[in-house]
C-alpha cells in the first residue's frame, strides 16, 4: 500500500459514475476465497482471502481448561485471540496486543459464541486463534467468516455458521465491504455478523454517522452479501471432503 499521509484532499473514493477507487460498484463485494483444514495441529482451521485481506484461523478444543480455576461448571469457555502480524500493515505494528486487538478479540468472540453449543461441554475450553497476515479493511468480518468455518471443521456442534460483512459510508453513500482506504477516508464503518439461517445478528458495531434509514438499508445490503458468503463457506467445508472422494474415484 502506498503511503497516503498528507494527501487526504486528493483521495477520491467514488467517481462520477459511482465506481469506487478499486473499480467496484457500491453494492459489490470483494473476491472471497476460503480454504479449510490448512493446519495439521489445530483441531479445525481455515484460511481466508477477502480482497487483499489474508487471514489464518486455528481452533483447538474442546479441551481441558488451563489454568483450571477458569473452568465454567455449566459450559465451555470460549477464548479468542485476534492478532495482526507486525508486517500486515504499511507501518509496522508493534507485536504486543493493541487496545484495538483486545476489543476486537472480545467482539469476535461474542459474535461466534452465540452459534456454539457451549453448554454441551462443561468445564472445557475452545480456543480460537486469528492471525492477520495482510490487512486491507474489514479484517474482523473476514476473521469471523474464517473462524466459523474453522469451528465447523473442528467438529464443534454449531447452531449455524456465522457470516459477516462490513457496510461503509463513502461520499455520503452506503458501500458494501469497504477496503482499507475506504475505511480510512470514508465517513463510517458498520460491521455486521449474522447466523443467516436463524436470522440472528451476533456482531453489530459502527463508527461514523448514520441516519436511522441508513441502518435499515445497511441491514438489507448486508443480508444479501451474507447469504452469498454463506454459500462460499459451505462450499469450502464440503470441498475438503469432496477432494478425498475425488481421489478415491481416480484410484479406482
Amino acid at each position: 500500500m502506498k503511503k497516503v499521509s498528507n494527501i487526504t484532499e486528493v483521495i477520491k473514493l467514488l467517481d462520477e459514475n459511482g465506481i469506487r477507487s478499486d473499480g467496484r460498484r457500491l453494492d459489490e463485494m470483494r473476491k472471497i476465497k476460503i480454504e479449510v483444514g490448512v493446519l495439521k495441529n489445530a483441531d479445525g482451521s481455515a484460511y481466508i482471502e477477502m480482497g487483499n485481506n489474508k487471514i489464518i484461523v486455528g481452533v483447538y478444543g474442546p479441551k481441558e481448561v488451563r489454568p483450571k480455576h477458569l473452568a465454567i461448571p455449566y459450559k465451555s469457555l470460549i477464548r479468542c485471540r485476534y492478532e495482526m502480524m507486525p508486517f500486515s500493515v504499511s507501518d509496522r505494528k508493534s507485536p504486543s496486543p493493541s487496545r484495538r486487538e483486545i476489543e476486537l478479540s472480545k467482539a469476535i468472540r461474542e459474535a461466534l459464541e452465540p452459534a456454539i453449543f457451549t453448554e454441551e461441554f462443561p468445564r472445557t475450553m475452545i480456543e480460537i486463534f486469528i492471525e492477520v497476515l495482510e490487512a486491507d479493511g474489514g479484517t474482523r468480518t473476514a476473521s469471523i467468516n474464517a473462524a466459523s468455518v474453522a469451528l465447523a471443521d473442528a467438529g464443534i456442534p454449531l447452531r449455524d455458521l456465522v457470516t459477516a460483512i462490513a457496510i461503509g459510508k463513502i461520499d455520503g453513500k452506503l458501500a458494501l465491504d469497504i477496503n482499507g482506504i475506504e475505511d480510512q477516508y470514508g465517513d463510517g464503518d458498520m460491521p455486521i455478523a449474522m447466523m443467516p439461517q436463524l436470522g440472528y445478528v451476533t456482531l453489530f458495531q459502527a463508527d461514523g454517522i448514520f441516519t436511522s434509514e441508513e441502518i435499515e438499508k445497511a441491514f438489507e445490503m448486508a443480508k444479501k452479501a451474507i447469504w452469498n458468503i454463506y454459500e462460499i463457506q459451505k462450499k469450502a467445508l464440503k470441498s475438503k471432503y469432496l477432494q478425498i472422494v475425488k481421489e478415491v474415484d481416480i484410484n479406482e
Partner: protein, 217 residues
C-alpha cells in the same frame, strides 16, 4: 437446515419448531422419511460403559490421571484396580502403573461435573503390554467397526490380528507378525480418511489384499 416438516431425524441435529438443522459438519443419509446426520469430526465425550484406551499421565496419592483422548481427564482410583482393599503408598502406586503406561479401561461414571471415573477391574481390562495404538477421530469409530462389526472382523481375519476398538478413537492392534500389525494400522488410517465415501468396505477389502500381496513379494 437439513429438513422441514414430518421427518424422523437421527444423529447430530437440533430442531426449532418443525425445522431441523444440522449441528455439525457431517453427512446426511436420507432414507424415505428418515434422515441421519453423521458428524465427520469431533472430540470424544465419555459415556458410562464405554471401553477406552488410556495413557497414564500422572500418579497421585490414591489414584492415577489418565489421558483418554478427550477434553476430560480420566480418573482411575486404587479401588478400581484391586478387587480387595489394599493399603499402598504413593511410590508403590507408580510400581503398578506408571506415567506413560497404556491401559484398557471402562468408564464407570461420568456426569460432566467431575472427571470421568475409570475401572480396570473387569476381565480383559488392564495394562496393555504389547501391540500398536492408532489414534483416529472418535466420530469415525463406527466406520472402523462397520455394520455389525463387519469391517473390523474382516481386518482381523485377513491380517490375523487382534483389534480392540476404544470408543475414544484409540485402537489397539496386536498382530502375530509385526508386518501385519503395521498393515492393519495403514488400513485403519485409510478407513478414517475415506470414512465418508461410498463402497468403503469393498475398497478396503481390495486394499488389504493388495497390501498382503506386496508384503508377500
Amino acid at each position: 437446515m437439513i429438513a422441514e416438516g414430518k421427518y424422523k431425524i437421527e444423529g447430530a441435529y437440533y430442531a426449532i419448531g418443525k425445522k431441523y438443522y444440522s449441528r455439525v459438519l457431517g453427512l446426511t443419509e436420507v432414507d424415505n422419511e428418515r434422515v441421519k446426520v453423521i458428524p465427520l469430526k469431533g472430540k470424544y465425550i465419555p459415556r458410562e460403559n464405554d471401553l477406552v484406551i488410556g495413557k497414564i499421565i500422572d500418579v497421585g496419592m490414591t489414584n492415577w490421571s489418565v489421558d483418554i483422548n478427550s477434553p476430560y481427564t480420566g480418573v482411575l482410583q486404587v479401588t478400581e484396580v484391586f478387587s480387595k482393599p489394599t493399603s499402598i503408598s504413593r511410590s508403590s502406586l507408580s510400581n503398578i502403573l506408571n506415567v506413560g503406561d497404556v491401559i484398557l479401561a471402562k468408564v464407570i461414571a461420568f456426569d460432566f461435573t467431575r472427571d470421568p471415573l475409570l475401572t480396570i477391574k473387569e476381565a480383559k481390562l488392564g495394562k496393555v503390554s504389547k501391540g500398536t495404538v492408532v489414534e483416529i477421530t472418535p466420530s469415525k469409530v463406527p466406520r472402523v467397526i462397520g455394520k455389525k462389526g463387519s469391517m473390523v472382523n474382516m481386518i482381523r481375519e485377513v491380517l490375523k490380528v487382534n483389534i480392540i476398538v476404544g470408543k475414544n478413537g484409540r485402537i489397539l492392534v496386536i498382530g502375530s507378525k509385526p508386518e501385519y500389525e503395521a498393515l492393519a494400522v495403514m488400513v485403519i488410517k485409510k478407513i478414517e480418511k475415506e470414512a465418508h465415501t461410498t463402497g468403503l468396505t469393498d475398497r478396503i477389502k481390495s486394499y488389504i489384499s493388495k497390501l498382503v500381496n506386496e508384503e508377500g513379494e
